[in-house]
Structures are given as structure tokens and as C-alpha cells.
């Protein structure tokens, strides 16, 4: 029998440190597969954030740089400007990208930095133990919104993809999900396009991927996928917001 599905070469052998059922791992695989398929492993540099994926540099099997919280797009800018022939991507969660790092992502996008951003949105802070994220839904209970997020007190969840799509410098902005095989396949296609665009010098590319947090949502793996589908997608619609 022939092996038709195996671990991509762009992943190390290190076991992921994510919780059981957390979809970060799927997204890691899709990024690594894309890099294998595009044959760019020897010139790709990933920028890991602060958040659950802080150890992403352990898992990706190519040069990696760890950024401070929220600053991955700035670090990626410094890298891409000095290594234009390399492929640079950031891998960021919702706290990193959409709260503390809002300025960095907006300005990297508006400058049209030729980088790829993998934005993992699971509507909660995972690493610090389940606090409100900028993408936490109205009514959603977290450690810091124990009675549910109230718009008057905590504001509204931010739709990053829609916002960045309005900027002249962005070229490919898409939101996908990981809640079922069909959407995982779509996510893979989007990730691949976001890297191909960089290879073709097409400015700024971002894939926002709806993801789960079973541990902090207090649900099991399967319930989490269902919760994502039923609660997140209505507020964070899937689709391409920009493709030029």
C-alpha cells in the first residue's frame, strides 16, 4: 500500500503542546504542507507570537523567530525588508493580532508588506486561561466576562478580515474555518494562496481561521467544533473579503 497522507517535512517531530482537540495543530499542518508543496522550506522564516502558539518555533521545521506580544508583523517587516527573497509569515492568535498588536497588523497591511499572516481566531485567550479576547462574542462567558460579554461594558468583537480588506495595501484577505473537513480543505486552499501571493510579490495576505478552544470554552472537542459553527460563523462570516 502506498502512503497517501503523512506528516509534512516542514513540521519537526516535536509533539504539539496544544490541548486535546485544539485546532491549532490542523492549521500548523496546513501551513507546513503548503511550504512543502511550494518547495520553499529552505527559505521560509516563520514569526511566532505570544499566546498559545508561542512555541510554534518548536514545531515548524525551518528558521523561526520569536516575536514579542503583538509585534510579529513588525518583526516580519524587518525580516522581509532585509531578506526580500525569503518567504516570511507570522502566526498569530486573536489577542496577539487583534488586541495588543492592532497597530502593527493594520500598518503592515496598509504598507502592503509582502508577507503572509495566519490569524487564528478562537474568540478567547487560551494561554493565559480563558480571558476575553477582542473577538469574544457578545454574551460569551470568559474569566474576565463572567456574566457574558456586554457590549456596553466591553465593546464589540472586532472583525479583522473585513477591516483589513478596506486597506489599499492588502491583496488577499479571507476568513475560513476548521469545523469540518470541507472547511478545512478550503482553509488549506486559502493558506496556499496566501503563500503563493507572497511568492508573486502580491502585497499583504491574511487568512483568518476560525478555531476552537475546548479547554477554555469548557466543551469537548466535538462540541467545540459545533459551537464554532453555530456561534462564531454568524458573527464572523466565512469568505473572501479581498482577492486582487
Amino acid at each position: 500500500m502506498k502512503k497517501v497522507f503523512e506528516r509534512p517535512k516542514s513540521l519537526t517531530d516535536v509533539h504539539f503542546t496544544y490541548c486535546a482537540g485544539c485546532t491549532h495543530g490542523m492549521i500548523h499542518r496546513m501551513v507546513a504542507e503548503t511550504i512543502d508543496e511550494l518547495k520553499i522550506q529552505d527559505r521560509t522564516i516563520g514569526v511566532s507570537p505570544v499566546g498559545c502558539s508561542v512555541f510554534a518555533y518548536e514545531f515548524f521545521n525551518f528558521d523561526m523567530v520569536a516575536a514579542s506580544h503583538g509585534r510579529a508583523p513588525a518583526v516580519a517587516t524587518g525580516l522581509k525588508r532585509s531578506l526580500p527573497e525569503c518567504i516570511i509569515f507570522t502566526y498569530q492568535g486573536d489577542g496577539d493580532l487583534a488586541a495588543i498588536g492592532t497597530a502593527e497588523i493594520v500598518h503592515a497591511a496598509t504598507r502592503g508588506e509582502n508577507i503572509t499572516v495566519i490569524f487564528v481566531n478562537n474568540a478567547i485567550y487560551g494561554m493565559t486561561g480563558g480571558q476575553m479576547a477582542p473577538t469574544t462574542l457578545i454574551g460569551q462567558k470568559t474569566e474576565t466576562t463572567p456574566f457574558g460579554r456586554d457590549a456596553r461594558a466591553h465593546g464589540y468583537p472586532i472583525r479583522i478580515a473585513e477591516m483589513l480588506a478596506t486597506l489599499e495595501g492588502s491583496s488577499y484577505i479571507v476568513r475560513t474555518s476548521t469545523h469540518n473537513p470541507q472547511n478545512v480543505r478550503k482553509t488549506k486552499l486559502a493558506v496556499k494562496k496566501a503563500f503563493e501571493n507572497q511568492l508573486n510579490n502580491k502585497n499583504f495576505n491574511l487568512v483568518e481561521i476560525l478555531s476552537t478552544c475546548p479547554s477554555n470554552w469548557g466543551l469537548d472537542s466535538i462540541q467545540s467544533l459545533k459551537w464554532l459553527e453555530e456561534n462564531m460563523i454568524p458573527y464572523f462570516p466565512l469568505g473572501e473579503f479581498k482577492n486582487i
Binding site: M1, K3, F5, H15, H24, H28, V184, D220, I222
Partner: protein, 73 residues
């Protein structure tokens, strides 16, 4: 003819592969792995089509899929 292998030490027993397997040929093992999880395992190789949905959905990239190459007609 197809099969999957689940890397027992890598698996965290989240059950996503089981939930999405169209043929329901995967279940959780009765033996704990060193991480303290009951890992997934293939229980019915005859029924496995090698569709790879389990591997596609596995958050720990712990599944490899094998398939008989189709004979060219």
C-alpha cells in the same frame, strides 16, 4: 484496500477523527498512552477506504493513511 496508522504517543484522544470517519472504523483504545490519553486506533481495516478525512481533521498530525494504488486500466 486501505488503512490508517495512529501514532499512539502523539495522539491526545480528542476523538475528532472518530466523529468524522464516514465508515466508523476508528475508536479510542482501552490502553492509556504515556501522555495519559486513550489514543485512537483503527478497528476495522477492511472497511477503511483511505479517504484521509481523519488525518485531515487530526489536530496532532498523528495519522498516516495508506491506500492500494489503483491499477491503471
Amino acid at each position: 484496500m486501505a488503512k490508517i496508522t495512529v501514532e499512539q504517543e502523539r495522539c491526545k484522544g480528542c476523538g475528532i477523527c472518530i466523529a468524522f470517519c464516514p465508515k466508523k472504523v476508528i475508536q479510542l483504545s482501552k490502553n492509556l498512552n504515556p501522555k495519559g490519553f486513550f489514543p485512537a486506533e483503527l478497528i476495522n481495516e477492511k472497511e477503511c477506504t483511505g479517504c484521509a478525512i481523519c488525518a485531515l481533521m487530526c489536530p496532532d498530525v498523528a495519522i498516516e493513511v495508506y491506500r492500494q494504488e489503483r491499477e491503471k486500466k
